[in-house]
């Protein structure tokens, strides 16, 4: 662990340059915009910015994009509290108590609690990443392709079991993601797959187009069914209440610590910020002595949701870097970015490219503090921005999505693909098909298949290889257990109904 701290200080020497600090501010600012505006969520925002980083140093690029992620996670709560409109899916739980608090005249208090809790959750998450990095990478070094395949299956299985959507719909989402990933050139055999003689499909389907379509256009289609312009409760901050809120905020330390733990758990194991904030809110309500106040402006509920949200976001960087395993859609996009920049995630990354890894981790300490301060400072600005009629904001966001898709490869075909995925995203969302597993499957698709083929090659085609070593057997067993869970709970429901 001491070794990690030394590495961290070297990371600070990477992160604390003028360029990188400027990138943090720029990233957080972009992120706040993205977090506030509907149709521009964190995964979509990171995808839009990613093509512009192709020429950058990888460490600069990741600092810019992760700062954007922190900004988006925190910015999502501004609209939750002032408008009762979650800017991000992960800030839905923030509306439960944040909006009632604001409506009763304490908007500044609610915003301050939310941002401070976000900051606390994020920093807690980064500390966890710092302390566990060494141990997790040593553990990951034990992995062969067999264990990797098992871990990927486990990630998919946990979406089926805990994703909250119908298991069969989740399986269809994952299957579609994996299938989209196989389109184009097969890296092992060199043959062209699933292109149906469409020349444009030979280079494959870019996950960036898919994310911009599903999350960006898809959400716009949903909003445009009945565009309404939101009314802010207030666009001003009350400075006296702000300082009073900062002073009283530490009172909620029990909720803060508990939620930070829940957030980190959901960040490291696949679940992501959205699941983390809901779970943390639920636990806080059950643990509270006054559960009847939840939903009516209980500070504990607000603090719990926000802390877990941000803790999950930042701790998700650990499995992403050490195993190449993202636990949320945004982490999946960042992972795709790593591969485009020529960086292979995994335990060897920590050994071969400590500058990159520790530069990123060190930057997370700084950029999250930047995010809290900037989020507070920009409340009046964004509250006004949200009041621009959506019939104007909507087309502007759509235009940004189109340009973003163009910058991926400069191909007209991609724009049509974007439209198709936009419609798909709209339908999936409306019919409760989960979108995040599709994105995860798409980014992990090639590596899942490679791991499977290598495992089969190692074992000479014996599928039991996934149970050969104790490590592989326990991961595969857990995955199978997760896949069985919906079935078991369904049978139990039937039995109790009968």
């Amino acid at each position: 662990m001491l070794d990690n701290v030394t590495q961290l200080f070297q990371g600070f020497s990477v992160a604390l340059t003028f360029t990188h600090i400027a990138l943090m501010f720029a990233g957080v600012m972009f992120g706040l915009v993205v977090g506030v505006m509907p149709g521009l969520g964190a995964p979509n925002g990171v995808s839009l910015l990613l093509p512009l980083t192709f020429a950058m140093e990888p460490v600069s690029a990741i600092i810019l994009l992760t700062s954007m992620y922190w900004g988006a996670l925190i910015g999502g709560s501004t609209t939750s509290i002032l408008f009762n409109i979650p800017g991000e899916p992960s800030s839905v739980a923030t509306t439960f108590d944040g909006y009632p608090m604001a409506r009763s005249g304490h908007a500044t208090r609610a915003l301050t609690y939310a941002f401070m809790s976000s900051g606390f959750g994020a920093l807690f998450g980064v500390v966890v990443v710092t302390l566990l990095a060494g141990a997790v990478t040593r553990f990951a070094l034990l992995f062969s392709p067999v264990e990797y395949f098992a871990v990927f299956v486990l990630a998919f299985a946990s979406f089926v079991a805990f994703g909250g959507s119908s298991p069969m719909k989740t399986i269809v989402s994952i299957g579609m993601g994996l299938a989209f990933a196989t389109v184009g050139m097969d890296t092992i055999s060199g043959s062209v797959r699933l292109t149906y003689d469409v020349q444009e499909l030979v280079r494959g389907i870019s996950f960036l187009i898919v994310v911009i379509g599903l999350f960006g256009l898809g959400e716009l289609f949903e909003t445009m069914q009945s565009p309404v312009t939101a009314k802010a409760l207030t666009t001003k901050l009350d400075l006296r209440e702000l300082f009073d809120a900062i002073r009283t905020w530490p009172r909620y330390w029990v909720s803060l610590l508990r939620s930070a733990f829940i957030g980190c758990w959901m960040g490291v194991a696949p679940g992501g910020p959205t699941a983390a904030s809901f779970m943390s809110y639920g636990v806080a309500k059950r643990a509270s002595r006054k559960p009847e106040e939840f939903g009516k402006g209980a500070p504990d509920g607000l603090v719990s949701a926000e802390t877990a949200d941000q803790a999950a976001g930042s701790s998700a960087m650990l499995p992403m870097l050490a195993l190449g395993l993202p636990s949320s859609a945004t982490a999946a996009v960042l992972l795709g970015g790593l591969m485009i920049w020529g960086i292979t995630p995994g335990p060897t990354l920590f050994r071969d490219n400590p500058q990159f890894v520790w530069g990123l981790i060190a930057s997370m300490y700084l950029s999250n503090v930047v995010a809290v301060i900037m989020a507070l400072a920009t409340v009046p600005l964004f509250a006004r921005l949200m009041q621009v009629p959506f019939s104007i904001n909507g087309p502007i966001i759509a235009l940004i999505c189109i340009i973003g898709a163009w910058t991926v490869a400069g191909a007209p075909f991609d724009l049509w693909l974007l439209l198709i995925f936009g419609v798909l995203g709209f339908l999936m969302k409306a019919l409760d098909y989960p979108i995040a597993p599709l994105v995860l499957a798409m980014v992990l698709g090639d590596r899942t298949e490679d791991a499977f083929r290598q495992s089969m090659l190692l074992s000479g085609g014996d599928a039991l290889v996934f149970f050969k070593t104790p490590l592989a057997a326990s991961i595969t067993g857990l995955a199978l257990l997760f896949l069985m869970m919906p079935l078991v709970s369904m049978l139990r429901r039937r039995a109790s109904a009968a």
Binding site: R193, M224, S391, L399, I403, P412, R453
Partner: protein
Amino acid sequence: MPDTRPVVTRRAAEIGFAIFTAALGAVVIYGARDLDTGWSDTGPEAGYFPYRLGIIIFVASLVNLARAILRPGAPYPFLNVSAMKGLARFALPLIALIAATPVLGVYISAALYLFVTIAVVAREPLRRALSVAVLLPVALFVLFEFAFKTPLPKGPLGPLFGML
């Protein structure tokens, strides 16, 4: 007043989408069958993985389809008339923008798109529409050409900038 007569019911939408994903699974199976779906000395062939994926998508879709048919559909509509109109107002200019971008370049089509959506579709004041339609493409131009150094297609404006 919003027109809430249903265009598509929730049940029909569920059934339609399950048929769509089942068809997608079938297309994947068909595409994988063109390749070798079995084994070689180098392990599973190129079609092995997609073939099985196709089957998984197809079977899971059939389960969703059966559920959608058997369960009495929720009474609320999936799309009503006014939502459909809202979607069309947004989607049609967007399709025009996608078709125009490779021909007219990003900046001209962006200006036209913004003007049409804000002035004609949303019926905002002309002055507001014009200022967004002019200022935003100019801002994008400065941002992409100079700050990001990522030139975007300029269409007929291209030669003009070549001379600069």
